[in-house]
């Protein structure tokens, strides 16, 4: 009996009326599909695909029932994720079936930026792009794209070159540029090297957020777990030197909460200690001196500068030195200070001293199939995104009259100090390839929706994170929901409609044709291709989810190539009235914002703060007490650049004087689950750049915090009240006990 009948029954108080509800069971239907499908009705089909939710490019398997995608699991064969999937990857299904997803091309109706759009036919939209490109001088076109290292990125480079436009700018995590540059200096690799964490015995991470999302969370999580538990006789140790208690730091065996911007000093002091111990081979020491000719600071100096006890620095240095397989990695917020390049170079340089280049549990050169070689024009230089921002602001270079943004949200992701949000309004025509009305799409004249990776042919080569080359290769898993296409297919369609000079350089019928052609051309270089025809090789690859290189091909990086910049003190924006250093971070909740419009992720508690459905700022108990802020209060966070309001989380693991806020919140629209929820931390970040690079120094902003009033913060776990003992329900490592352990929490 259903509720309505019950209401009726209780109101009439007569048993006879109850019978009505039973007579007609709810009607149900059986749908007879038109054509045969590989699966029977109701049968589960498992299809390979490639996750494109972050740059890692994990291999996934999708369960499809009656044409609908139901569940995402990891492809065991894919070397990046080895069967694992992260939270963001699972939620891809909620992008596919998102109620607010754009399914048809949209043209701005009314004022741009007002959010008013009307649907246009797909062919009309392509024609509009073509005419927009024809209407402006080629040097006044600007392109922002994603997939810097992949085939799509290469296609954009080729496209820009064919048009005669400036090279495209690629939107990626800004510290990656710093890390690449540092790796080039310290290790001599052209791209990010591969760190064999799984086989290391002691890993020192200078700020590298390997277990946090954004890099290759699944791969490194597995490597981290294997480092600890996959070997019967040894359990690797992980030491994290980072100002913030990130997810990585939370899992580390040792956490060194250094003062932000002094990570390089720590690394140099450790290097000094190791060198002084005399156990470093002369050759390694000599190579290290190429990188850092000067003398290293003493551990005592470092202790003062980093605000970490000297004996702990010495202990870490000793542990690293004596470990059979020591490994040092660096990046993250350490790379995002004005001295970030020096910080990371100092960290990576330690590997030279440890002599682990090309050794098991050490550092390896990046591996790639090199498919982009012939797609790229001869000059592969990209426009730094900072340069593009300057063009948009009209401060340098040619002004921008046509801006094409492909699968990226620069308005949301770039520092407010760069002024993109204001400048984009002055661009005549903005064309955005996006499936959601994110902050950039809202400014568009024309939005061309994208197909999710489940609805399109996908080929994506993971950057170096797996150590071996890995090209995920998959056909569409489900029927497309709308008109959206792969960005490369949109590019090819536009290019074909452009004048002959451009069109002739894009002869591929589709992205799929391009990939098949490239693999065919390079078949001899492909792993395991001996004796196979191109089509057989490709179909075998698609049947296992991609082309995967083997570990035997891993090679050692060459070593230091030049002197790193000596360590300047970190500069930060904001005078003494801005009392706190601000550290933005990516939470597994929303990632960089990609997960913002997915209910699963919005309701997913952040692992540390346990906040759901909104943004927050993490404060130390001492600072909170001084400011009179209680957990959950609404606070205003102000920098020289901007100001936002959010909720305060009091967290005993926050370094006093440092606050941190998650990325990916505070969208103007971006769908019903994201709209107006939380605040965008990038609105606070200033224009500063990392010295020696063009990357944003996003960790160099100082803020002040004032209490606004009481607030209701949505939390899953218990709030931290300070001073109370927390009962840990089962024993953990250091206590070596299975008894109940009662631990005193921090005092406020």
């Amino acid at each position: 009996m259903r509720r309505r009948d019950f209401v009726k029954a209780t109101s009439v108080a007569a048993g006879a009326t109850l019978l009505e509800g039973c007579g007609s069971p709810e009607e149900q239907f059986i749908v007879q599909r038109v054509r045969q499908t590989p699966e029977l009705p109701g049968e589960s089909g498992w299809r390979f695909s490639v996750c494109r939710q972050c740059a890692a490019g994990c291999g996934i398997v999708v369960r499809v029932v009656d044409g609908d995608a139901k569940k995402i699991e990891g492809n065991q064969a894919h070397p990046v994720n080895k069967g694992g999937v992260c939270a963001l990857g699972h939620s891809l299904l909620q992008e596919l079936y998102n109620p607010d997803r754009i399914l048809q091309a949209q043209r701005s109706s009314g004022n741009r930026g007002s959010g008013a759009f009307e649907a246009v036919a797909w062919d009309d939209a392509i024609a509009q792009v073509v005419s927009a490109i024809g209407a402006v001088p080629a040097d006044r076109i600007a392109i922002v794209a994603s997939d810097r290292s992949g085939l799509t990125g290469a296609l954009w480079r080729r496209f820009a070159a064919a048009l005669g436009a400036p090279a495209p700018a690629f939107l990626e995590a800004p510290e990656l540029e710093v890390e690449r540059r540092a790796a080039q200096l310290a290790l001599g690799t052209t791209d990010l090297p591969y760190f064999d964490i799984a086989n290391a015995d002691c890993v020192l991470s200078i700020g590298a957020p390997i277990l946090d999302p954004g890099r290759s969370q699944v791969h490194f999580t597995r490597a981290f777990a294997d480092m600890r538990r996959a070997r019967p006789t040894r359990r690797g140790r992980f030491i994290q030197a980072e100002a913030r208690m990130s997810l990585t730091a939370a899992n580390a065996d040792v956490w060194l909460p250094v003062r932000p911007g002094t990570e390089g000093v720590l690394a140099r002091a450790i290097a000094g200690h190791i060198l002084a111990s005399g156990s470093v081979p002369a050759d390694a020491a000599r190579r290290y001196r190429v990188l850092f000719p000067g003398d290293a600071p003493s551990t005592a100096d470092a202790a003062t500068q980093c605000d970490v006890p000297e004996e702990r620095i010495v202990a870490v240095a000793e542990e690293l030195r004596t470990a059979e397989r020591g490994l040092v990695i660096g990046g993250g917020s350490a790379a995002a200070h004005s001295n970030g390049l020096a910080n990371v170079a100092a960290a990576l340089g330690l590997n030279v001293l440890l002599g682990n280049l090309g050794r098991v549990g050490g550092v390896f050169a990046p591996a790639s199939l090199g498919l982009t070689r012939t797609v790229e024009p001869s000059n592969p230089a990209d426009s730094p995104i900072a340069e593009l921002a300057a063009r948009l602001r009209g401060e340098s270079g040619e002004p921008v009259e046509l801006l094409i943004v492909a699968d990226a949200d620069p308005v949301h992701a770039l520092p407010a100090g760069w002024g993109i949000r204001e400048a984009i309004g002055r661009v005549q025509t903005v064309i955005v390839l996006s499936s959601f009305r994110d902050d950039t799409a809202l400014q568009a004249n024309l939005i061309l929706p994208l197909a999710t990776e489940l609805e399109r042919f996908e080929a994506y080569e993971s950057p170096t994170s797996a150590g071996v080359a890995a090209l995920g290769l998959a056909e569409a898993v489900v029927e497309p929901m709308g008109d959206g296409q792969h960005p490369a297919d949109i590019l090819l369609a536009v290019a074909r409609a452009l004048p002959e000079s451009v069109a002739s350089r894009f002869t591929w019928a589709s992205y799929e044709a391009l990939v098949r052609a490239r693999v065919g051309e390079d078949l001899a270089r492909m792993p395991g291709s001996a004796g196979a025809t191109a089509s057989a090789y490709l179909s075998a690859a698609i049947d296992r989810g991609g082309i995967f290189g083997d570990a035997a091909a891993m090679s050692a990086p060459s070593g230091p190539t030049g002197a790193a910049p000596e360590l300047p003190g970190a500069l930060s924006e904001g005078g003494p009235e801005y009392a706190f250093g601000l550290l933005p971070f990516a939470s597994v909740k929303n990632g960089d914002g990609r997960g913002a419009n997915r209910p699963w992720l919005q309701e997913h508690p952040d692992p540390l703060s346990t906040v759901m459905w909104g943004s927050w700022v993490e404060l130390s108990p001492a600072d909170a007490a001084e400011l009179g802020i209680h957990d959950g209060d609404r606070v205003r966070v102000e920098s020289q650049t901007g100001s936002v309001e959010t909720h305060a989380v009091i967290d005993p693991a926050v370094r006093p004087g440092v606050v941190s806020m998650p990325l990916g919140h505070g969208y103007a629209d971006n769908g019903r689950y994201a709209q107006g929820r939380g605040a965008n931390v990038m609105a606070l970040v200033g224009a500063g750049r990392v010295d020696g690079t063009t990357a944003s120094a996003w960790a160099a902003t100082r803020v002040r915090i004032t209490r606004v009033g009481e607030g209701t913060m949505v939390r899953f776990g218990r709030r931290y009240e300070g001073g109370e003992p927390e009962l840990i329900p089962v024993g953990w490592a250091p206590q070596q006990t299975s008894q109940l352990v009662q631990i005193r929490g921090a005092r406020v």
Binding site: K70, Y97, A225, R229, M481, L608, T610, W613, R672, G717
Partner: protein, 227 residues
């Protein structure tokens, strides 16, 4: 006999929470929205509990994945007045939604607080409902729910094995959480099969249970960290 069990290696677990989202996707768990979540009604059959230990700078974080412990002596079972929750012959702590009248007594009596209640009927904004797993019921309002050890996967694997006229192999069944775990911290299997990986892990000296002193005899085993 079969007794399904799970081993969770807390030394491998990094608290990333992929398991929790995998569980949402597999089991049609509703997302309740900001307002309801603020009232403490968010549902995560699998949750990662976070505990702080110590004072800055010597503060440590401990992650503890907590799901229904599928107790051998489940406190939730005897208190249900209508037999909506009981122990199955395969050692699962079953929850029969159709039978549940919503006294919420079982949830009160669960020392692990792993039972979740449907305060309102779930809503899936179209076309999100196309993702719903057809093998799992969408629970109506007024009904208790909790981790089932992905019973639909167990049944599917048993069905396939029966069609192929063989026994279910160890490792053939993976719960959604264990499948997705990037750290491979979760192992699922038959505790009564001495050859199974989970039984092997259960015999190690790292084995411990959550709130052991309550003698609920959980089927979930935690492997504690350390060397």
């Amino acid at each position: 006999m079969t007794r399904w069990g799970m081993a969770i290696d807390t030394d491998r677990c990094t608290g990333c929470g992929a398991c929790a989202v995998a569980c949402h996707a597999e089991n049609n768990i509703q997302t309740v929205g900001e307002v309801e979540a603020a009232r403490g009604r968010a549902m995560h059959w699998m949750r990662i509990e976070r505990y702080y230990e110590g004072v800055f700078p010597d503060v440590k974080v401990r992650f503890q994945p907590v799901l229904c412990q599928q107790c051998g002596h489940a406190p939730c079972e005897p208190v249900c007045p209508v037999y909506a929750t009981y122990r199955t012959p395969e050692g699962l702590n079953a929850m029969v939604y159709a039978r549940c009248i919503g006294t919420r007594y079982c949830a009160n009596n669960c020392p692990y607080t792993t039972r979740y209640f449907n305060w309102f009927a779930p809503e899936f904004d179209a076309p999100l409902e196309r993702q719903l797993n057809p093998s799992v019921s969408v629970r109506p309002a007024g009904v208790m729910e909790k981790c089932t050890f992905c019973v639909q996967r167990i049944q599917d694997a048993q069905e396939v094995a029966a069609q192929e006229e063989r026994e279910v192999r160890d490792g053939e069944i993976k719960t959604a959480c264990s499948q997705s775990c990037p750290a491979q911290a979760i192992t699922f299997g038959d505790l009564d099969d001495p050859e199974s990986l989970v039984a092997l892990l259960a015999r190690t000296e790292r084995t411990t249970h959550l709130l052991e002193d309550l003698s609920t005899e959980p089927s979930v085993i935690y492997l504690r960290g350390g060397r």
